[in-house]
Structures are given as C-alpha cells and as structure tokens.
Amino acid sequence: MALKGLDIFKLTPKTNCKECGNPTCMAFAMKVAQGAVPIEKCPHMSEEAKAKLSEATAPPMKTITVGVGEAEHKLGGETVLFRHDKTFVSKTMYGVWVCEGCFDGKIDAIKAVDYERIGERMYVEMLNCKFTGDAGKYVELVKKADAAARTVILDCDDTSAAEAALEAIAASKPILNGANAANYAEMSALATKYGVVLGVSGANLDELHDTVAALENAGNKNLIIDVTGADIKETFANAVEVRRAALKNQDRTFGYPSIVNLHDIAEGDTAMQTALASVFTLKYGSIIVMDGMSYAQALPLYGLRQNVFTDPQKPMKVEPGIYPLNGADENSVCVTTVDFALTYFTVNGELERSGVPMNLLISDAGGYSVLTAWAAGKFSAGSITKFIKEFDIESKIKSRTLIIPGKVAVLKGELEQNLPEWTIVVAPNEATGLVPFMKDYK
C-alpha cells in the first residue's frame, strides 16, 4: 500500500535544495506519494530510505504482458477493488477452451464473433489449449491455435509436452498455465527459458500462496494465478480473496492477475457460463476461459466489460458522424443528439424501435449528456451548425428537416437563423417518448 506524502516527507533531507526539480521537499514527497515521480529523483535520499520507499510505493499488483503484436495484452496492474475508488485499468480477457478433438469444430464460430462497439474491437482474445495426454497431437493443436492470431494459453501440467509446445510457439509469448505444488520448479525453469508468463494453481489458497512464494523466492515474478477451484463457490471465493489480499491487505504474493476456467466448473452449461463470466468480469477475473463464445453470449458480455472498464473520469463517447437508421437514405429526416455513449445507445434504441427511416447526426459534444453539454456550451446552435458544415451534410443528405432533443428546445430559433433552409423540429424531452413521436411524425 502506498505511503502517505507526510511519511515520505519524513525520509527526505528536508533541505529544499530543488535538485529534484520541485520547489520544496514537501512538494516532492506529495508527488512521490501520487506516483508522479520516482523516489530516485532525490539525489540526497539515503539508500536505506530508498529501499524502504521503493518497496512501499511499488504497485500492489503487477502488470503482466502476454502475447505479441496484435495479440499482445496487458493484464493486472489494478490498484482498487471498486471502480468508483479510481478506475479499473486492464480489462478482462475472454478465452475459449479448445482441445485436439474439438478445435476444428470450434474455430469458425470463434472467428465469427469479431465486431466493433464504441471504438473497441470485440473478439475472443485467447485460446486455452488443453493438454489431453499426447504430446505430438498437443503441438499440432497449439500450432493451429497460434495461427488463429490469438494469445495461446498452454493448459498443460506435463513438462515434456509443455516444452514441445513452447519450442513450437514460444515466439508468440503464450501463457504456460501448468505450475503447481509438485512441478513448479521445472515449470518455472521452462517459462524462464522461453521467456513466457507462468500460470500457477493450487489445491487451495494455502498451497497456492506457498507455491507463488516459492516461485518468487526463486526469482520468477512473471506469473498469473489460476484461481479455479473445485466448484463455483470455491472459485469465486478464491478470485475475491486473492485480489483483496493484494489490494487491501498488502499481501504482495497474491499481487498477480488471475485466470478463471469456467470449463472446469460449469462444463456444458452455456447460460451458466454467461452468468459466471459476468460475475467474474466484475469480481476480479483477469482472464475468463469459457467453452465457447456465441454472438448471443458476446453481446451482453463484451458490453458489460466495456462498461465496467471505462474510466469513471472519462465518459464513453461515440464517433461523430452520420448514422443511418432503419434503412435511411438521403431523403430521410435528420435527428441529432450528443455523442455521450449512454445517450446515443438509449436514443438509438428507441429510434430503431420506431421503425422510421432517419439519419442520426452525432456531433462532438465532449461526451456529455444533452443538458450538461448544452450548459457547457458543447451542444449549441453553433456546434450543430458547425457540424453540418464540416461534415458537408447538405450535399450528403437532401432532407432539410432536423429534429433536436426536447431538452434543448431553446436552440430552435438560433438554429433556424443559422440554417435558413432547414426546418427545425423539437422532439420530446425523454427518449421514452421517441417511438410515438417518430411514428406520428412520419
């Protein structure tokens, strides 16, 4: 847990020499406490004080990088248990469980789910390759998985099979999830040799803690903790206990990202896996492995993940532009609202339900809701006019009717002045009134 500014101040020379670039030692201490500058910036700090501070100011949970290129992902690095305390930083990754027998049957469906939602690519990021006993076939499986441009998880506790698999695909930086109390020394040697992240599991939290501690003592701190237990209850308890120990109770041994394998605790029950994946997305699963990922599962899960991992200080925004709805063409009426994602989705949903073809125009309103954007001057007659000119709407769309949100009815007059060719129509105040309004309007 980070020290307070005052605690750090006590360790500084208190001479205000300014050599660190700050006006006073106090100012420097405050910045160190926030993590803005490293303690080494102070040339007069004693070695003893530095050691004490770097230990205390080290992040409580490590950030682990897996995969390469497009399949490179960062895991962990969280500092809070609840997003309102600051923000979550590394979104949960979803993986699909594959084996030699089922890979060919699953891969097309996995690849089919690949779409964009508010600027984020939604797809299955990882493939969990299960070792089932034949090292030769296992190498074939991991090669196929690697060729699919996903991060591979080697779900394998057999050292010789693991080595053969690593020999084949180590360059793609897969995760070797296979260390346990019995084999951790050999597995760690392999992971180190091939430069990959090692997944650690244990029969219970005590054994898991001891194994991680032993690996750390041996110098391997490039780890992921497999929190999957014997059943759903134990797995949930493990996921929470591990994260809470690291972030709240200063137990650095558990300060690693986690992996949850739903295949092991809810095999074959698709709806249950969706439910559990939702729970573990909120409560501390860094990687969630499922039996499959259909579109029906992906739509809520990826939406949930996108919501939960947004920074509370930065609103989600959609791209400004023309969004044709219900088969709209250049003759369909124009409707406008702000770019705040929640407003966009609510309005978009209601407009689609009305079935009336229209062009939804989204201008840059700073990611605020209608009234907030209006109050901040980011959604005004001027900004809407500017958008219509900049996006060359008048040559792209023939309709000269613009429907504006009821909450900014006050803009009507000014818009009519700015856009003399246009008819400005005021919609209801709330999105719930849009369906009857649009139907009547048509």
Partner: protein
C-alpha cells in the same frame, strides 16, 4: 506458511424484509457481508429470483416462451405456470399495459388481471407498475386494497409519487413498497429518508437503485450498488440498508440485442437465445454488485440464475 485470511464481516447489516405470507413467504436481505461473499460469513438470506408475467401474459413472439406457456388459456393459467418455474421464489406481475402512452388499460382492467393471478397462486406476489408515476399511484392504491393480507411488494414509488404510495400501500394497507431512484447514491438515500419520515418502518420497504442492461451504462449500476453496500455495511448508514430489488427483465427485454429479428441480424442467432443470455448476464452482474432480488422472464434464465445463487451462497 499458507495464506492469511482476513474475513470482512461487518457489524452493520442489511435490513430483512419479508414478502408474501405463509410457508412460501420470502425474506430479502439480512446479510452482513459484501454481495455473495459467503466465505466471509454466512449469508442470512440468499438473493431471490422472481418470474415475471405481464398484464398480457407473456411475449408470444418468442418461440421458447410460447412453448413454455403452451396450453395456458387464461391469465390464471399463465400465472400458475410462471410461479412453477424451477428456481422461482416469487411471481412478479408487470402492468406495463396501464401506461397512458401505451395500451392505457384502466385501473379496473388491471385489478381484474391481478385478482385472477392472486387467486391462482400461493407464492409471494410483486406488482410492477408502468412507466407513468401518476397512473401507478392510482393503480397501487386500488391493488393494495384488493390484495390486503397478502403482504405484496409494490414496485416502485419515485420522488414524484412516494407520498401517496407510501401512505396508501405502505401505511394504510400494510403492504411492502420499493423506492426507485436513478443510479445515484444520494438520490437513493434522499428518497429513503423521505419515506422513513412518512412513518414507514425499515423492514417495510426495499429499494431499486436503478438498473440497466449489460452494455447500456451498466457502470453506473455497478458503482451505485458498490457505494450503497459500502455505506450500508462499512459506515452503518441506516438510510441505505434497505435490500436492493432489481427488475432486470424490464431492462433487458427492450434493448436492441433482445428485440431485433433473426432475419435482420442472421449472424446474431435466435432471439430466444439472445434474450436469455442478455437476461442472465445482466442478472448475474446485478447480483454480484449487490441486488438482493432480481426479476426475470424466461424460464431458462430463472433456472440458471437460481442455480448460480445456490452454488455461490
């Protein structure tokens, strides 16, 4: 050396509210740990799952729902069938047809539906009003009288109509009420304070702190619930210790992912599957964030979520 466990048990707890009467009555809340953290201390009452029907019964355009309710001719049949869903703890009747902007059914029509339902089932009943607060005031007043002695939960009263609903359903007819606010801890607390000032006891009302379908601003739901539970347990804030009641299905059955047809979005798969996955995902996330009860429409969702609760608690 092993792992040093630090169980996080609080001295404060969530209020316990009973819905229904007799053997099948259910208790919401009562726990003194964070949502589903049964490893910290025993959870007094596991979260509950309700099966929802509407004044029209069910959505006949969803094939698997139609199959489940096959052979049901009256609303009483439908109510019985819904109450019998494996895993359902209570029955919720959503009177969405009462909305003046919709079918605008009269209070008498709704009362006829509700009394038929109430006569058919013995499980705890929850009445969910429409989107119009004024209509709900009228509706709840009539229904609270009609359902006297059944200890029914009325969902919801808002800032606009809490006085009337609390006075009639809550105080005059001794029913339970739900205070609804829009994903903001301060609004939730304010409404609870106002209701308590009307003279309602802490064990007579629950709250809906707002909900959304997964992907539709769910971060506000999570953060509101996280903060509410933290205030209730860690800071012993009596005005936020009401159990959280979340009508999940009313949100999830109206989003694009659930309603668009398979013809328009062939790659998305059947509506049946999408409806279930959206409902299940949202409900599971609500429970993980703090809901003490969720309302669902599809029998498969009800079965899955109740199974998940049983596995966790």
């Amino acid at each position: 050396m092993g792992f040093k466990r630090v169980p996080q048990k609080y001295s404060a707890s969530i209020n316990e509210v009973t819905i229904g009467v007799g053997e099948k009555a259910i208790k919401l809340g009562g726990e003194n740990v964070k949502p589903l953290y049964s490893f910290d201390a025993e959870i007094a009452n596991a979260p509950k799952v309700g099966a929802e029907i509407t004044d029209e019964g069910y959505d006949r355009t969803v094939a698997s729902l139609a199959a489940y309710y096959e052979g049901c001719e009256t609303i009483a049949d439908i109510a019985k069938k819904a109450a019998a869903m494996p895993g359902a703890d209570f029955l919720a009747v959503n009177l969405e047809g009462a909305d003046p902007n919709g079918a605008n059914k009269s209070v008498e029509e709704c009362a006829a539906v509700v009394s038929e339902v109430a006569g058919a089932v013995d499980v705890p009943l929850v009445i969910i009003g429409c989107k119009n607060a004024d209509k709900n005031t009228e509706l709840f007043n009539k229904l609270a009288d009609l359902l006297q002695g059944k200890n029914v939960l009325f969902v919801s009263c808002k800032e606009e109509n809490y006085k009337n609903v609390a006075a009639s359903a809550g105080l005059a007819y001794n029913q339970k009420i739900c205070a609804e606010s829009a994903v903001d801890i301060n609004l939730a607390k304010q409404l609870n304070v106002l209701i308590s000032q009307m003279g309602l006891k802490p064990d007579t009302y629950v709250m809906n702190v707002g909900s959304a379908a997964a992907g539709y601003g769910f971060e506000y739901v999570v953060s509101t619930m996280d903060r509410v539970k933290d205030a209730a347990l860690a800071q012993n804030d009596a005005m936020l210790q009401m159990p959280i009641f979340t009508p999940v299905s009313s949100e999830t059955w109206s989003v694009k992912e659930t309603i668009v047809s398979e013809e328009d979005f062939p790659e998305w798969g059947t509506r049946d599957d999408r409806a279930v996955q959206m409902e299940v995902s949202t409900a599971a996330a609500c429970l993980a964030a703090g809901s003490n009860a969720v309302v669902l429409r599809h029998p498969k969702s009800v079965a899955t979520i109740s199974k998940m609760i049983a596995a966790l608690v």
